[in-house]
Amino acid sequence: MSMPRHSKPLIFSQPSALAFALATALLSPSLMAAPEGPKLGHPLSQEEASSQSMNVFPDGQGLPQGKGTAIEGKDLYDARCVSCHGLKGSGGSAEELQGRSPLAGDHPDKTVGNYWPYATTLFDFIRRAMPLNAPRSLTDDQVYALTAYLLNINGIIDETKELNAKSLPEIKMPNREGFVKVWPEGGS
């Protein structure tokens, strides 16, 4: 398959040597204490390096070109995902994907609808890991379509809403504010 491409410019591309030297001088001495190595790393251009990354961040950095809707995603889901995840994301042997039950109840299923804080995580995870029996076999359009379908069955977007590198990070998930970061605030 073709390498994923960033659709957004890199937030850090070619800093000048001086700017970098000034910046690294700000790091505390304790962070600069690692032993010196033989420096055998092979240089890559920023473009080469970023083309190897599959990470998709909440702000959309790393999302590739492409698009998809829940209507397209439904057929794909029923063909590739339903055997483990169940009809409409429910009742399968794998994770429950659909449901909006309250998280404060007894033993709630933690689903895309009631738990996942970022829609970009769906794209990131499906593209790199799903389906288990054929990871990396989906096209970027298919990953957008499956992401749209999972958001649609959870009542988060309409079935006609097109997801792409711009619209996906704009989606606010129901449980976006549901997490308390234990690190670094005060330590765990």
Partner: protein, 426 residues
């Protein structure tokens, strides 16, 4: 048994309820374990006609790689995997079958998200990208030339001991309840050496690590930990990593939950913010009873359990026994372990086996004279920060029961009159 210094009667007085004895007893004196115990076990006369066959015929030849005795066939990992996807699951370290502090490599616990990749090291590369001065990649051969350090530490799954949240106490051997933790000596390159070669931009606060398995598993690591004591490990207990433990290279983050210790490491992308991967949002976060979830709970807090005796053992009548167990803390050294044989009413300090290493298994032991009556054994660890392992009721009261991860409550074993051991909430 050699003749021993006569044991002062005073030192055999219990120092806490349930027959717990002074921890120094086994160190200073050899105790009479029972009249003639050492002799009664003689099975044959070494000069006579009933010699065992292994003394009459030449033994087995040399072997290229040694294996455990066939009589120790129960000291194995138990596997629990998805029937439809056998590479997605876990296997536990049989803590109840082991002694000392180092886990044999073949018994280190496993968590795989989509099987164990068979990586050809000559084709494997590690790439550093993102907010760095110069993106780099390295072959395994390159990296093996870097200065290395060795570090003994435990690796514990954030989901270890999760059956403790269950309403009813699970009845299973201790390792198959608490054995998603193992302890090894890891050898490799301090990650800071490699990061400094690439040069981290001051905006680079997180390191997104990624493995070369069929799940291409990714997760975010704070740069402070990466620069502090994180190791790019190539060796485990002296030999190159086993495939199931990350061959040819993996991360080791001493004291932090195992999912961050990425195996089969292929990429480190330096970023401003965490990637918010599936395994740091949907999983490895702890839902509280309030409906809010704890996220980025990296440190594995102090924990201990008694491994002998433990469920599956049967006491052989009243008499002198040694209680033995493990304690560890992701915050540093174990300072003290206390044992109770009366359900927590009274506690006695256990002996800690030297050397006591930071963020490592610490073995504790305590002599105990069981009088044959039913009782409840417990252990609790206190680490060098003063943190004390909580009672289960305290932990459940604070966190609720939907968190799944980071269960570290005190473990209670009930000893019955017939000598059987069961898990109880007490």
């Amino acid at each position: 048994m050699k003749n021993s210094v006569p044991v002062e009667q005073k030192s055999l007085e219990p120092i806490a309820g349930g027959g717990l004895l002074d921890r120094r007893l086994f160190l200073k004196q050899s105790l009479a374990m029972g009249a003639g115990a050492g002799f009664a076990l003689s099975g044959y006369d070494a000069t006579g006609a009933d010699l065992p066959p292994w003394m009459r015929t030449p033994g087995e030849p040399f072997s290229n790689y040694g294996q455990p005795s066939s009589h120790e066939a129960e000291a194995i990992r138990w596997v629990s995997a998805n029937v439809g996807a056998p590479g997605n699951g876990i296997s536990w370290t049989p803590l109840h079958k082991l002694e000392g502090t180092i886990t044999p490599n073949g018994l280190h616990f496993e968590r795989h998200h989509n099987g164990v990749p068979k990586i050809d090291p000559t084709q494997h590369r590690l790439t550093l990208s993102g907010l760095v001065r110069s993106p780099l990649n390295f072959s395994v051969e390159d990296l093996l030339r870097y200065p290395m350090v060795s570090r003994t530490c435990f690796v514990e799954c954030g989901g270890n001991s999760n059956a403790g949240w269950h309403e009813e106490p699970i009845q299973t051997p201790a390792g198959y309840f608490h054995g998603l933790v193992s302890c090894s000596e890891w050898t490799g390159v301090p990650l800071g050496t490699i990061l400094e070669e690439a040069g981290i931009h001051p905006d680079g606060k997180w390191l997104i690590a990624e493995g070369a398995d069929a799940a291409t598993m990714n997760i975010s690591i704070p740069i402070e930990k990466a620069m502090d004591d994180t190791i790019l490990a190539f060796y485990q207990n002296g030999e190159r990593l086993r495939p199931e433990n990350g061959y040819p290279l993996r991360l080791i983050l001493p004291g932090w939950e195992a999912v961050l210790n990425v195996k089969w490491l292929r990429q480190l992308e330096v970023a401003k913010e965490p990637v918010m991967a599936r395994n740091e949002t949907s999983k490895y976060t702890e839902l509280q009873s309030s409906g809010k979830a704890r996220q980025f709970t990296f440190v594995m807090e102090a924990k201990s359990l008694i491994t002998a005796p433990s469920p599956g053992y049967r006491m052989k009548g009243a008499g002198l026994y040694q209680i033995s167990g493990l304690a560890w803390s992701g915050r540093g050294k174990i300072k003290r372990v206390e044992v109770s044989a009366d359900g927590g009413k009274t506690w006695a300090e256990a002996a800690l086996q030297e050397p006591i290493l930071s963020k490592s298994f610490t073995r504790f032991r305590l002599p105990w004279r069981w009088d044959g009556s039913p009782l409840i054994l417990k252990s609790r660890a206190i680490d060098e920060t003063g943190y004390q392992q909580p009672e289960r009721s305290v932990l459940v009261n604070e966190r609720g029961r939907n968190g799944y991860f980071h269960y570290n409550a005190i473990v209670s074993w009930a000893v019955a009159q017939d000598g059987s051991i069961s898990h109880v909430y007490a």
